[in-house]
Symmetry: C2
Subunit: 237 residues, 2 copies
């Protein structure tokens, strides 16, 4: 795929959880550090499984707008109750819930973003709230030019407004933005609105048993194995 195909693209908009950072490893790391005797891999997957249903309650209007930190907290409390885990202090729960602010990027991310940043405006287009994403970026050294997404749009992906408002705030047409994500569904929603698309495969996002998003499910503009591969394909030396 020639980089010249994308000469109108001036901004890359990034999904974050799974695409940029490894949420599963971060939850396992901080969970184990708390000294609780748990299967933290399983806990991480269960917590993450409550993510889409919680956002769906907001999307459907069943509950009013809540930022992702608050949805994570609601889900965490449900999960702790379901597993009969008691005895955690409020500070413990707040610490555990803020693990999403302390996730590490995949090994290729920082070097890839440094190359991509020379040519493109790099923006988040994430369901994470702004404060979460800013804290994560500060800790991990993610060099975003803009932190945008659900909270600024007041809408959770894959609702169109999340994508459209992000492009609008960058002052760009959707066609000038390329959505970068590890998830086919995210790219499908973006492509339907005019975004260019790049799939970066993260076959370890859910651990060894992952069955989804192992390959492209449509003709995305770019399919890359890492952010370095993406930089290469977009002509960013």
């Amino acid at each position: 795929m020639s980089a010249s195909t994308f000469e109108d693209v001036t901004s890359l908009t990034f999904d974050v959880f799974g695409t940029v950072v490894d949420w599963r490893a971060g939850i396992i790391r901080d969970g184990e550090g708390m000294g609780l005797d748990l299967d933290w891999h399983a806990f991480a997957l269960e917590w993450r499984a409550l993510y889409q249903p919680a956002m769906e309650r907001v999307r459907s209007g069943e509950i009013g707008w809540r930022k992702l930190d608050d949805l994570h907290q609601m889900n965490l409390e449900e999960l702790l109750a379901r597993r009969g885990i008691t005895g955690l202090s409020e500070d413990d729960i707040n610490y555990l819930n803020s693990v999403w602010h302390r996730l590490d990027p995949w090994p290729d991310v920082l070097a890839g973003l440094a190359r991509l940043k020379q040519k493109y405006v790099l923006a988040t287009l994430s369901n994470g709230n702004t404060g979460l994403l800013v804290n994560m970026a500060k800790r991990a050294g993610l060099p975003w030019d803009a932190v945008l997404g659900a909270e600024t749009a007041g809408a959770y992906k894959p609702q169109p407004q999340a994508y459209l408002r992000t492009a609008e705030m960058l002052g760009l047409a959707p066609e000038s933005c390329m959505m970068v994500a590890a998830h086919n569904g995210d790219l499908a929603a973006a492509a339907a609105l005019g975004f260019k698309t790049a799939l970066v495969l993260r076959p370890g996002e859910y651990g060894p048993g992952q069955t989804t998003d192992l390959k492209p499910e449509a003709e995305w503009d770019v399919v890359a194995e890492s952010f370095l591969d993406l930089a290469e394909q977009l002509g960013c030396p």
Copy 2:
């Protein structure tokens, strides 16, 4: 003033036009480059003088929300008509209006922000729209952790919502934010909401004849002569 006074402050929120960048010099530079025979210093001041009245039309509800790029354009067209300047193409006008995206920082800014960024989350709290501020930062190398302000809040300073929404999106109480501005009025509005305050004097913002904001008009938490002085006073080596 001891840095320990501000141990609860985790983010610095910056006014941009005048405080971070020299809008007058930028307009003169690009205006003169267009080959139009004009007093560009006077033109810059006249254009800027239309800024507050235009925002006031939005604040008062006389007109609906418009981002600053659009208010700048409305003001520019009014100014060109008033001065009887005709013959500019649409491209010329768009180029001139986008000068606000191409402003250079004051000489102390990049070195000062690099020091401050080691300790604080650096966010804009500007009336500039997001795309304008992102383009400016990209060109000038301003290392913002978050680009926030009027457009994300849907309110122009000094309306409280502009400040409060910025703090909220950072996940912070106003008391954990320090407003940095060259304008006493901006600091007064922020302080009334609980923000800490730092006045950075920019006696050349309006050129040699400047009569306003030459000194502190209240007991701000910090008064600094430059961003380097601010870094020094906040204990950022």
